[in-house]
């Protein structure tokens, strides 16, 4: 069953008087439970593609469906609702809210979902334990290492049980050992909870971990490789 479907997606940016075509007609179908990496050189369009799948931006042309929701039919408010309940994000530079502790950062998503305080706390503690941060609940982001921050970001992304987690270069700011630990953790979550992960990356280690590798070049899918097949 497809959780993400893109058909004939193009995206053109206007930079001053110059039009930049970031995507030139992308067709992509991602099955539920995938562990997929969008790879390609800088400027190939992989982050743009990830933004479109996440409903952060709208395509110039083409259709996008996520968990059977047709983005073309949704307004900004509905897209915000979809992101809140169905999509988790992990960013390259962690992007935690600096004034909140690790626990509060994870709770914040559930607060927006109007989940009660007791349940919020219990679920946040559980998911932070899952990513190995039980002892660091009250630490603020600046008191955590890069790897720990990214684990909090993953916990925040998965705490509300999203249909997909979109991770933009999640290991780019981490050393290889920390990056590997993070990928192992995400792979476990994928395997145990069936969470769909889509990465954008040019890190070979991420590509190695991915079960499906989609190479983007010049705004098009250049290669789509399912490992082990």
């Amino acid at each position: 069953m497809a959780i993400v479907e893109l058909t004939g997606v193009t995206k053109t940016y206007q930079q001053g008087k110059v039009s930049v075509q970031a995507l030139r007609g992308v067709d992509l179908r991602v099955e539920k439970g995938s562990f997929l990496a969008l790879a390609g050189p800088s400027g190939s369009g992989k982050t743009t593609l990830l933004n479109l799948i996440g409903g952060l931006d709208r395509p110039s042309q083409g259709d996008i469906r996520v968990d059977e929701h047709d983005f073309a039919r949704m307004n900004q408010s509905e897209l915000a609702e979809l992101r809140l309940f169905k999509i988790g994000f992990v960013f390259q530079s962690y992007n935690l809210i600096p004034v909140l502790s690790a626990l509060e950062n994870v709770e914040f998503v559930m607060l927006l979902q109007r989940i009660g305080a007791a349940e919020r706390r219990q679920r946040a503690e559980a998911v932070l334990a899952e990513v190995g941060l039980s002892g660091l609940l009250e630490r603020r982001p600046l008191e955590l290492s890069g790897g720990q921050q990214q684990r909090v970001a993953v916990a925040r992304a998965i705490v509300s049980g999203p249909a997909i987690v979109l991770a933009d270069e999640p290991t780019a700011n981490l050393d290889s050992k920390t990056g590997q630990g993070l990928l192992e953790m995400m792979k476990t979550l994928n395997a145990q909870k069936g969470v769909t992960f889509i990465f954008s990356t040019h890190d070979n280690m991420v590509m190695d971990y991915a079960r499906r590798l989609v190479l983007i070049r010049d705004g098009r899918v250049a290669e789509d490789q399912v490992k082990g097949s």
């Binding site: 931006d57 408010s77 915000a80 609702e81 992101r83 988790g88 960013f91 992007n95 004034v99 998503v109």
Partner: protein, 412 residues
């Protein structure tokens, strides 16, 4: 504490120096406004009280039209009938009758035009402070008729002193020539130069004989228990006065109607003060605006992340308004306490304004001014600061709604 409140509090203190400066600006503006308004209201009180206690009283009963025309013939024909009414009117503390005549006042050397006021030496001190403002000599007494107390500046112009004689020449109520000679018994200085330069007071009964008043007077001056009760007293008196027979109907006029110039001067001062205070508040508003624009700019990526994970723009605006409210309330709270504290100190001890004594003297105010704390002075300034700062914070709080998520996430 809710998560929103917690975030607001922590965000406010992300940049302690900027926050402290902004709070200091709000504190300063709030404190200054409380003090300034109290100072202004205090000075207006002093001006009004000086005028009331020297010549107008809280109210005056006159024949209709006398205030405008000052015609000798527009009299209160039966002052005893008015007195009976006043004795039975609640909140009337005291009253006294007066009669006025513009006359030539001549000494041996000089002649000036001025206002001769006939006063009841017994009752007048109950409605006027002039008896206490006698600088030389003594006040009038009932036993002697041909005597006068004279404004100090007029006495200086006429070159007369205690015991000298003055000739009064005017027109009687019946159109006849009124002429008499009085002896200077005392000199008064009210601090209101215009008054001290142009008036003398003589006993009312002597005035009535000299000016052929036939027992009539021009004004019945009333002192109420409190300035705020003036309109109530007038309301009570008006139907009763209508029952008194008089050549022209009797009316009760308030001090503000008798001295419209004073009210205009107060309004003008208040308006110019308001313009100055508005400028001060606008400067503070720009400080707030700067703080929040900087905060929004610095946290653009953070807002992008929050929008990406699904926060609605309304919630984001609410969060920012929370922050501005926290900041504003801290400044307002500290400013209010400081403003009220400092003002209360000066309300008790007064402010020495010796340098401005000549200007103040025109309004009958001594060289020391006492600010007056009131609900208005304690709330108008802070409310103004609150409204302006919230308006200033609204712009960046609304601006954040227009952020593009993708651009915000890419913001370095």
């Amino acid at each position: 504490m809710s998560m929103d409140a917690k975030m607001a509090w922590r965000n406010v203190w992300r940049n302690p120096r900027r926050t402290s400066l902004t709070i200091a600006a709000i504190t300063f503006a709030t404190g200054l406004l409380i003090f300034s308004f109290s100072f202004q209201f205090g000075s207006y009180d002093a001006m009004i009280n000086a005028a009331i206690q020297v010549h107008t009283g809280h109210l005056q009963i006159q024949a209709k039209g006398y205030l405008e025309d000052k015609d000798m013939r527009q009299v209160v024909e039966h002052p005893e009938a008015v007195a009976r009414i006043l004795k039975n009117t609640s909140d009337v503390k005291d009253y006294a009758c007066r009669a006025n005549a513009f006359s030539l006042i001549a000494s041996e050397d000089r002649t000036y035009g001025g206002l001769v006021i006939g006063i009841d030496p017994i009752r007048e001190p109950r409605v006027s402070r002039i008896k206490t403002l006698i600088r030389k000599g003594a006040y009038l007494d009932k036993a002697h008729g041909a005597q006068a107390v004279v404004g100090q500046l007029l006495a200086r112009n006429l070159k007369v002193g205690l015991g000298d004689e003055l000739t009064l020449l005017g027109q009687g109520r019946d159109g006849s020539i009124a002429a008499t000679v009085v002896t200077v018994k005392g000199l008064y200085a009210t601090g209101q130069d215009e008054f001290d330069r142009s008036t003398i007071q003589i006993p009312l009964s002597f005035f009535q004989d000299t000016y052929a008043m036939r027992g009539a007077v021009h004004e019945v001056v009333i002192l109420g228990r409190h300035l705020d009760q003036v309109n109530q007293i007038r309301h009570r008196l008006t139907p009763k006065l209508a029952q008194i027979e008089n050549p022209k109907p009797l009316v009760a006029l308030t001090w503000s109607e008798i001295m419209p110039g004073l009210i205009q001067a107060i309004k003008l001062d208040l308006t110019s003060g308001f313009i100055m205070y508005s400028l001060l508040v606008i400067v503070v508003a720009f400080s707030i605006l700067n703080t929040f624009l900087m905060a929004v700019l610095e946290r653009t990526r953070e807002f992008g992340v929050m929008m990406a994970i699904g926060i609605r723009p309304n919630r984001l605006t609410k969060l920012l308004l929370y922050e501005s409210t926290v900041l504003t309330l801290m400044g307002l709270g500290v400013g209010w306490i400081l403003g009220v504290g400092v003002t209360y100190f000066f309300q008790q001890h007064g402010i020495d304004l010796a340098g401005s004594s000549e200007i103040l003297a025109q309004y009958g105010i001594s060289g020391r001014l006492y600010p007056r704390l009131s609900w208005a002075s304690m709330t108008v300034g802070p409310a103004l600061v609150l409204i302006i700062t919230i308006l200033a914070a609204l712009y960046p709080a609304l601006r954040v709604r227009r952020l593009s998520i993708v651009d915000s996430l890419a913001y370095a």
